[in-house]
């Protein structure tokens, strides 16, 4: 068990270069044979799979530490290179050092005076807390200056020009410098001069960048894979090491037997090639080493680099246990805080519970139940999968041993219990673009195979149910569970930090239903009211209204039931149309019931729609959310249940016949469109005659295009207005569009009236055949129809050319989305990387990890955007309403 409270913490990590001595010292074995296994499949001594370097096969023991597979961390070996070779990663540095230092005496080519100046400069920069990158600029300057001096100021030797033949060949005035020579030169550089070359003499020496010994990574870094056929397959690194050892051996043999210089040089170069590709197989200038199958090998740099590299995929992100993933589906009867977890998943996912004197009986019972218990009435009850003893041994619970294990259970053991109702888990949908993409939910174990969630939490996850999958993580520590409950629970994220409004709220049918319930205050009989209210936990009906001796309940009164007490506010509904009251709001007396008045938690007037309860826009929701997360959760839960009650009782259907408009209207629309088309014709005519006046700074053609697009856009709007005139608020589609539930009036007018101009890159369609878009038109036809104007409506249907144009516009949309996601993803990654370390101090300063102050007061006022009112630090309206109530609201109207 983990020691209580204090855990060890790595304070810092120092980077350094390995010296040849160090490599030998840490080596467990000197590898000399290129072979891996003998015929019996046993690792060969002094081979690449030598048991001194660790074990990968179960049963064998490491010859260095004696550990078994999971115990031995692996040990390095080494290869003695016959001749030194250049380390590819450091060629640029080596070039700099050769340039900046004297080939004879090894000193940096600066006068003592200059050295002193730079010493002070570096010290000053370090004192100022310069980042490594900033120091680098200074080093670069020093090196450039020293390199530009042709004669050594210390010994007077002349410097010849050194060129670098990429990737690893150095030449001095055309003569090739062998790595050996280079190493000798680098050895001569005194320690005192190293700091000016950007080297810390305590951690590195330049000659170490020329390799004489090559470390061989432990075998568990490059494990052998045994295929099902029994065939063995070596790791890419092992393959590369085999190459290196082979050539190294040949080079040594040839050198020792006194072979001609030419052969030795060839082999030396070959060794250089293999060592180079062993480090980086994407070095420019040399062909990548390939596997037998022709696939390029994945060597050291490739293992680390990029999205699939060690850093981004294994270190910055890690795989976890106790998680699951499945399809999601909606469940309006769950609270927003809850998540429905399938029984199957709940039995796999476990929570570790420490056995104490207080819960040992309960734990015994749970263990006793085994791995798939059911209650007497066939419901799910939690069992347990494993028990962990005080010594850390795991015992798997089976149907057979459940009872014995339960009896043996002691205080100090840990029981891994199945998920049960009320456990907290994390729920996530990718892409995780903001913190609301991963929130804490309370488990509700349910039948079937999908995760279930309340519809109001779809917006923060950006989820829908067309096959979306989501992930669920079970927290394993008490600390983590406490944090999740307090900070991550859904109800704590109703308000978005992005804009200080609610992100969890009513969507689609919730809005439609609330509109139906409150608009123009419909009456319900007692039976109806009880039916609707049966969806939520209210046992008291509101005051009935008696009409003709019968009891009726008003929709607004039913809605008022779920409002918190003491709430006062006024605002305009989404359906508000200034044209109705000619911009003179008449408040409660609004003819279209679009002014919401709430007094002491009672809806007095107005329609509840998107502007009240919608996610992103709900003003009412925002006010309630700021009253506290419990109140807000309850409101959203009740509201969504009420919505389901209303809409399923009343019934709501939308069909294409919603967009039926009278023949007369059809004719009007056609007339408008034809008129516009004629106008376009006239424009083209006048353009051809040269009568068109170019707009300032535009060519004649541009002006024509602009004018035409203007005319056609206006025609489409006109057509839309006409269709809107015939589509009233009794029409289901219009209810959805106007209340903000789904779609817009534009969509409806495209169905009923005319679709309008299709465009690609903001221009009318113009590409395709020579001087025309399709062979159906004359060459050079600039008319509306020939350039992608779709006069039909979706309902009437498109003719073939229109259909083609429409799909051109549609294609652009698809391409746009595809490009956009990658671009915005990269931007977000960069933003996060630049800002991730910033935090607020106790006195509301913003500082980074280096202690630099970025802002003296966060956001200039220290306010948390989440708690702001749509960005406003203080909403005076809110404060005055709270203080003076109705008084203020009435006073406000006069303004």
């Amino acid at each position: 068990m983990r020691a209580f409270g204090i855990t060890k913490r790595i304070k810092s990590i120092k980077f350094a270069l390995l010296s040849p001595d160090e490599i030998r010292k840490m080596s467990a074995v000197k590898v000399i044979t290129a072979d891996t296994y003998d015929d019996d499949g046993f690792p060969i001594d002094k081979g690449l799979m030598d048991l001194h370097m660790g074990v990968i096969e179960p049963g064998l023991r490491c010859k260095t530490c004696g550990g078994k597979v999971d115990e031995c961390p692996g040990h390095f070996g080494h290869i003695e290179l016959a001749m030194p070779v250049v380390h590819v990663g450091f060629v640029k540095n080596i070039k700099n050092y050769l340039d900046a230092t004297c080939p004879v005496c090894g000193r940096i080519k600066l006068t003592d005076e200059e050295i002193e100046i730079y010493r002070q400069k570096i010290e000053e920069a370090k004192k100022m807390g310069a980042s490594p990158m900033q120091l680098f600029v200074i080093y670069k300057k020093i090196i450039d200056e020293a390199a530009s001096r042709p004669i050594c100021p210390h010994c007077g030797a002349e410097q010849k020009k050194i060129t670098l033949d990429k990737p690893t060949t150095f030449r001095e005035e055309g003569r090739k410098l062998t790595p050996k020579e280079i190493r000798e030169r680098l050895e001569r550089i005194p320690d005192e001069d190293l700091p000016f070359l950007g080297i810390d003499p305590k951690t590195a020496r330049p000659e170490w960048m020329i390799l004489t010994v090559l470390p061989v990574p432990p075998v568990n870094v490059r494990p052998t894979i045994t295929l099902e056929t029994g065939e063995r397959s070596e790791d890419d690194l092992t393959h590369k090491l085999v190459d290196i050892i082979r050539i190294n051996q040949r080079l040594r043999d040839n050198r020792d037997s006194g072979a001609p210089q030419l052969i030795i040089e060839d082999l030396w170069e070959l060794l250089q090639y293999h060592v180079t590709t062993y480090f980086d197989n994407q070095t420019s200038g040399i062909p990548p080493a390939r596997h037998r199958s022709g696939r390029p090998l994945k060597t050291l740099v490739q293992r680390l680099k990029g999205k699939e590299g060690r850093f981004r995929s294994n270190l910055s992100g890690k795989r976890v246990n106790f998680s699951s993933r499945t399809v999601i589906s909606p469940e309006p009867f769950l609270s927003i805080n809850e998540v429905g977890v399938p029984e199957k998943a709940a039995r796999e996912l476990t929570v570790p519970i420490a056995v104490t004197a207080y819960n040992i009986e309960k734990m015994r019972e749970i263990v006793m139940r085994g791995t798939s218990p059911k209650s007497e009435d066939g419901h799910y009850v939690p069992g347990a999968n494993y028990v962990i003893r005080s010594d850390g041994r795991r015992i798997r619970i089976t149907e057979n041993n459940a009872e014995t294990v339960a009896k043996k259970l002691e205080v100090g053991w840990i029981v891994e219990r199945h998920l049960t109702d009320g456990d907290i888990v994390l729920f996530n949908r990718q892409p995780s673009l903001h913190r609301m993409s991963m929130m804490g939910h309370l488990v509700k174990v349910m039948p079937y195979r999908t995760f279930r969630l309340n519809l109001a939490v779809c917006p923060p996850y950006n989820a829908d149910f067309d096959g979306d999958e989501m992930n669920l993580h079970v927290l394993q520590g008490e600390e983590a569970r406490a944090e999740a409950r307090i900070l991550m629970l859904v109800q704590e994220h109703i308000l978005s930090p992005r804009f200080g409004g609610p992100i969890i709220g009513g969507i689609h049918d919730h809005i439609t239903a609330m509109f139906l319930l409150t608009h123009k205050n419909p009456k319900f009989t007692k039976e109806e009211a009880i039916h609707i209210l049966s969806y939520l936990n209210y046992d008291k009906l509101p005051e009935p209204h008696i009409e003709n001796g019968k009891e009726y309940y008003y929709g607004k009164d039913l809605f008022s039931l779920i409002l918190p007490k003491g709430l006062n506010m006024e605002f305009k509904s989404k359906i508000c149309d200034p044209a109705v009251c000619k911009n003179k709001c008449v408040h409660e007396k609004c003819p279209i019931d679009a002014y919401v008045v709430i007094r002491d938690g009672k809806l007095v007037a107005g329609t509840i729609d998107e502007n009240a309860i919608g996610s992103f826009k709900g003003k009412l929701l925002d006010r309630i959310a700021k009253m506290g997360s419990d109140v807000a959760r309850k409101f959203i839960d009740d509201m969504t249940r009420l919505a389901v009650g209303v809409i399923s009782y009343r019934g709501f259907t939308s069909g294409i016949d919603d967009e039926d408009i009278p023949d007369d209207a059809q004719r009007q629309i056609l007339a408008i469109i034809h008129e516009a088309e004629n106008k376009v014709g006239e424009l083209i005519e006048s353009y051809k005659k040269g009568l068109l006046q170019p707009a300032p700074g535009r060519s004649l053609e541009d002006t024509l295009e602009m004018e035409i697009m203007g005319v056609l856009a206006r025609a489409r709007d006109e057509a839309g207005k006409i269709s809107a005139r015939y589509l009233g608020l009794e029409n289901p589609s219009v209810i959805m569009a106007r209340s903000g539930a789904r779609a817009s009036m534009l969509n409806l007018s495209q169905m009923a009236g005319s679709i309008g101009q299709q465009s690609v890159r903001g221009q009318r369609l113009h590409r395709g055949y020579q001087d025309r878009t399709l062979p159906h038109f004359k060459r050079g036809d600039l008319g509306a129809k020939a350039r992608g104007f779709v006069e039909s409506s979706y309902k009437r249907g498109l003719n073939p050319t229109e259909y083609f144009f429409h799909s051109m516009g549609g294609r652009e949309g698809l391409v746009d989305t595809a490009v956009r996601t990658s671009r915005s993803g990269y931007m977000q990654r960069r933003l996060i990387n630049a800002l991730e370390d910033l935090k607020v101090t106790e006195d509301r300063m913003v500082v980074d990890t280096g202690g630099n102050v970025v802002q003296f007061k966060y956001g200039e006022d220290g306010i948390d955007p989440t708690r702001s009112s749509w960005g406003e630090s203080i909403d005076m309206d809110e404060i005055l309403t709270e203080l003076f109530g109705e008084d203020y609201l009435l006073r406000r109207r006069k303004k």
């Binding site: 409270g5 810092s12 990590i13 980077f15 350094a16 270069l17 990663g89 540095n93 100046i117 002070q120 980042s131 490594p132 900033q134 680098f136 950007g198 080297i199 810390d200 305590k202 740099v301 850093f311 270190l315 910055s316 903001h434 913190r435 944090e483 992005r498 992103f616 707009a695 700074g697 890159r761 903001g762 746009d816 490009v819 956009r820 996601t821 671009r823 977000q828 996060i832 990387n833 630049a834 800002l835 991730e836 910033l838 935090k839 101090t841 509301r844 913003v846 990890t849 630099n852 102050v853 970025v854 956001g859 220290g862 306010i863 948390d864 955007p865 749509w870 404060i879 005055l880 003076f884």
Partner: protein
Amino acid sequence: MSKIVLIWKDKSQNVERLNLNAPVYYALDFELPKELEPPFYGYITLRGKEANYRVKITEAKPYAPIKDILKRSNKNLKIIVKVEEVQEIASIPLTEFQKRDGEEIKRVSKYAIGILPEKKEIRLEKYREMSEEESEIQNIAKKYGVELPFSVLEKIVHTQKEYSLQKNELKKVVKKVVERYRNRLVDPHEAVGIVAAQSIGEPGTQMTLRTFHYAGVAEMNVTLGLPRLIEIVDARREPSTPMMTIYLKEDVRNNEDKVKEVAKKIESTQIMDVADIITSIADMSVVIRPDPKKMEDRGVKKEDIIEALSRIKLKISVEVEGNDIKIKLTEPSYKRLNRLMNDLRALTLRGIKGIQRAIVRKTKDTDEWVIYTQGSNLKDVLSLREVDGKRTTTNNILEIADVLGIEAARNSIIKEAKDTLEQQGLNVDIRHLMLVADIMTFNGVVEAIGRHGVAGEKESVLARAAFEITAKHLLTAGIIGEVDELKGVAENIIVGQPVSLGTGAVTLIYKPKKR
């Protein structure tokens, strides 16, 4: 008041030595002009084009070989000056200095003397003193133990006036405001950076990729949406569609004709814009045929063209033949004819460099005439008398940083990002944009978000390696012996430790008593 200054060219090593040893005597190899009497300022130029350092000179005497002296060169030393201090300054182009006859200095190869005219100041009214009412409210708030920010005070004063609140009502309001303000403060250790990045990044998926016509000015294309946002965080030297909004001073802004006059002055006009150029190979001449209508539109006269032609460096003779202007080469050759053509095309008749088009529009809200331009040159535009320097802006953030300074650039980043997001109908709290703008500018220069800017300068090796160019960072870390202190988020995740933000930042430990 403008003073005479000395400008000389020097090597960077010399300057560094001066800087290290100042105050110090410095021997110069030229005579000091008589007008200069110490103390005076000297400006040092490194490349002869712009002044890079300013030195204060307190003494000057003829050269004598004395000890501890720095020398500009080894020969011909004439005078010694005492250099009190050396300041590195944001480079001033030498053209800003004037010779004694008022002409501007173009290049300095050894030394020169000149006058640096004082800059005109642009005063902003933003930073005003706290008004009486405001300080009264602040005093009430202080009694409750909180100092309210300016913006909140302003709001309270506004409501007080609008609803003519009584004294006791006001007190109630302030009390409530203080309570609310306290509740709404950010939590310490909150990861505001990550929240800001997410809040800006998340709506990125909802933005369009296309360029649009600028609101109100249909003639201009402006990059908007995601590409523009990326451009802003990239801190590009030049936006893909540079644009200026030029406001004018009171005496001009309500007179359309006058404004158009200014617009013509701003818009740079090339010969090609107002005339046809016809080359005749037969007699080795070029004929410029002005288009009277275009000339009038642009307000260019024939004389202007002729005058501009004098700026052509080739040897030419200009004749006027009726409407046409005929140019002949004095030493004809095909090569020169070709060069003449190219020179003519590039010849600017009038206007400000870089501004391709100026369009005059009336604003909707303030009802005044404003000039919108395609292309941007803030510095030259601001120097026009008619231009209202307080409100005139450009969308080129780096240009603003150069001309108006880093704080202006910060505000410009906020404004540009905010406008871009708003135009797309996206709602992002301004505090997030402020944080991004601040991280881009708090070092004193505008830095991009990305590997060449903020992220590439991180202290931690592991964080840099995890971001981009992994191998390079790890290898160089070995050479310079970098130490990763594991303070940031990325590093701690890599080694599997709690991060130093939020609940992870709290180091308080509760040790229960042993039973």
